[in-house]
């Protein structure tokens, strides 16, 4: 049996025996015959994967025309992407180029399965200086050559329904968390008088693991707590993080400004749907504009995420993680040159303008910002957030596990709150400490 087959069988073993089920993948990389073809796994940025494919195909067509290299595109939903990458890493059979959530960059870097962006490879895509530096910094652990480069830049903002604000007599978006909760209470009302609340102050995706983890990170920092201590050990149960997570869960448990039904909501895109349906007045999201546009909803504006105090700076002034999507080249690619060339194409100034405008995201190369498409208030707001009020998620290899464990802990807390159980500070603390201890036993 040759090595390749042996590795493939082993990938099967990981799936079948270790998990009892398997998320298989078998993408052929590389070229065959005269026609060069590379495979590309894209993440889901648009309201539907079909729309993603449409947008990307246009860019790919330009690339194929220019170079003659064909690109076999697959858009993978977020719920599957991580597993697909893992299976690809373990089997050594994967795409040539792939998108990753930038918070996974360090975890995936440590697997050694991706081409480091240094020397010629980095030169080929125009060097580090072309990129927005805060985004570029998410590409890998500090002091190591990154194994991913930014593709789309994102940051959290507060989206609010302007008509509802006006009706409630609120003139300005909330700047502090206290004001935010106060406004949310004003906006939580029974509009048709049937005794049931049908307009909620805030909507959230309570079962979305990654959204929950992002909130733990941002709210934790605002309250002076970091998810990892100075030695890089997980420290989820510290006072700051507990206070931050409690604030988040309290929106549903204590302030009652979030519908309990939201605890079941798995996808971040559910929030935009609820918001556009007029069932909620505010939500935090990274790039919902395309989604809202597809629902013909325009009565909204964006504002910075509220902080504990309006003038907070430094870590306590964090409003978002440096969010975004990065792009990597698979080390086992049969045609690394073509793969790197394709990354160069996607990160070129023109494609950056096209792609980020299509997806409502921020370009990751500074030159693209001159384009009129990125002069809107909302984009400027995100630029300011990324420049002054964003921190990268912890750049440790275990970041991926951290997101899962913390996100799941918060999901369970929200589930308790949704069922009318009270969630005390001790409950939050013990849930987070449990998560931390599970993480250390896995190392």
């Amino acid at each position: 049996m040759n090595t390749k087959k042996f590795r493939w069988v082993a990938a099967l073993a990981v799936g079948v025996v270790a998990a009892g089920s398997m998320t298989a993948c078998s993408a052929d990389g590389g070229s065959d015959g005269g026609d060069k073809t590379i495979t590309y796994w894209a993440s889901n940025q648009a309201p539907t994967v079909e729309r993603d494919a449409e947008v990307l195909q246009e860019s790919i067509d330009r690339y194929t025309e220019e170079t003659g290299v064909k690109v076999d595109l697959e858009v993978i939903p977020w719920s599957d992407l991580y597993n697909r990458i893992l299976t690809a890493v373990s089997s050594g059979e994967g795409p040539d180029v792939l998108n990753i959530g930038n918070t996974w960059a360090v975890s995936l870097q440590s697997s050694g399965a991706f081409v480091p962006w240094e020397g010629d490879a980095l030169e080929a895509i125009g060097g580090q200086d072309r990129f927005v530096q805060s985004s570029f910094a998410t590409g890998g652990a500090e002091g190591q050559a990154p194994t991913s480069v930014p593709l789309y830049g994102l940051a959290y903002s507060l989206y609010y329904n302007t008509a509802m604000f006006e009706a409630a007599g609120i003139t300005e978006p909330p700047a502090t968390w206290e004001e935010f909760v106060e406004d949310a209470k004003k906006l939580t009302i029974d509009t048709d008088g049937d005794g049931q609340i049908d307009q909620w102050g805030v909507t959230m995706a309570g079962s979305s693991i990654s959204n929950n983890a992002h909130q733990a990170f941002v709210r934790g920092l605002q309250n002076g707590g970091e998810l990892y201590n100075e030695d890089g050990e997980p420290d989820f149960g510290n006072d700051g993080v507990v206070a931050g997570v409690k604030e988040w869960v309290d929106l549903m448990a204590v302030d009652k400004v979030v519908s309990p039904s939201d605890a079941e909501s798995v996808n971040g895109s559910d929030m935009a749907a609820t918001f556009a349906d007029g069932q909620a007045a505010m939500f935090f999201d990274q790039a919902p504009t395309d989604n809202l546009k597809s629902r013909d909803f325009t009565d909204y504006a964006a504002a910075p995420v509220p902080m504990e105090s309006a003038d907070a700076t430094g870590l306590e002034g964090t409003q978002s993680h440096v969010a975004g999507i990065n792009i990597s080249v698979f080390e086992n690619s049969d045609d690394k040159d073509a793969a790197i060339d394709f990354v160069k194409h996607l990160t070129s100034d023109d494609e950056q303008k096209y792609l980020n405008e299509s997806f409502g995201a921020l370009p990751v190369v500074t030159a693209a910002y001159d384009d009129p498409a990125f002069q809107s208030e909302a984009i400027k707001l995100k630029q300011v957030t990324l420049a002054d009020h964003a921190q990268p998620m912890p750049l440790y290899p275990s970041e991926g596990q951290m997101e899962t464990l913390v996100g799941t802990a918060i999901k369970d807390l929200l589930a308790s709150a949704a069922q009318g159980q009270s969630v005390s500070e001790d409950d939050v603390k013990s849930a987070l400490e449990d998560a931390a201890s599970q993480m250390s036993s896995g190392q």
Binding site: V9, A10, L12, A13, V14, V16, V17, A18, A19, G20, S21, T23, S79, Y82, N83, L86, V89, S90, G92, S107, L108, S110, S111, G112, A113, S207, I209, S259, P260, S261, A263, E264, V266, E331, P397, G400, Q401, T404, L405, T408, K411, D412, A415, S416, A418, Q419, D434, S437, Q438, M439, S441, G442, Q443
Partner: protein, 332 residues
Amino acid sequence: MTVNLLPPAPAEEATPPDRHQAAPLQPAQKRKAHRSPLAYFLVAPAALAELLVHIIPMVLGVWIAFITLNQLSIANWVNAPFVGLRNFVTALDPSSPIAGQLYGALGRTLLFTVIVVAIAWSMGMLGAVLLTSSFKGRGILRTLFLVPYALPSYVGTIAWAFMFNQRDGAINRFLVDDLGILQDRPFWLLGGNSFWAIVIVTAWQFWPFAFLMLLAALQNIPGDVYEAASLDGASLWKQFTQITLPMVKPANAVLLLIMSLWIFNQFNVPYVLFGPASPEQATLISPLIYQQSFNNWNFGLGGAMSVMLLIVLLIASAFYIRMVLPKGQHDD
């Protein structure tokens, strides 16, 4: 004399099985002498497939349980560090939250299996008994009953996930809006009810299998046995307990074993209903292994849990086969 004459008769009767056994032996021995390379050649593809599909993955799975396999070692997993029994210790150490989850999931899965097998078996038996007697429309009903089993597991479960939705699922609409039995809309996919959600969906999925197996078994019971029983004045219930149940016992024994093993390993239903992380009250053992392996990137630990699960199921199955399954002489 008669007393002396009688014993040889049973002895005579006992010989046929021996002859039966002896008869096939001779050609077998002949064949042994003439065994050609062609035989090996013909068996080779099947043996190779078995090796590739079953044996090697299983051996690798067991091996994974003894190494540290996470994101650091997965790309080069052949050289992943060997840690002996550490993964097993982590999974079993009562002071760790992981072991707490494992013990909880084991107990819950046992309870889940018992309840689901009981429901699926009862419904299958009821359906089979009702559809044994012929009446108009029996064919249609038989087909209809098989739908949940014929439907791909994911499709059926996704439909249930929509129905269980708290805000606007069909079940809450029916219970709260239409019937008014409940005041508040309960959550079916969160908290305690989530356990019953997987019980309902799994039982729904498996009862047609029980129905099918039992129907086949029931049709092997000669009708005159029932006729004789009714002539003797046996009630329907008596006929069921005294004739039907004993007559389908061999089929039942196998059916219960297979269903229990499948249901104990249930993965699809919780995964589709809850996504990668099940609510604590509904975490079964297979999804827990998945969570440890794929969500937490801890394949070694997941592997250790799998191996322990395998051992538990092997012991239980071996015990069951010895105790319950029909003995060897009925095998042929």
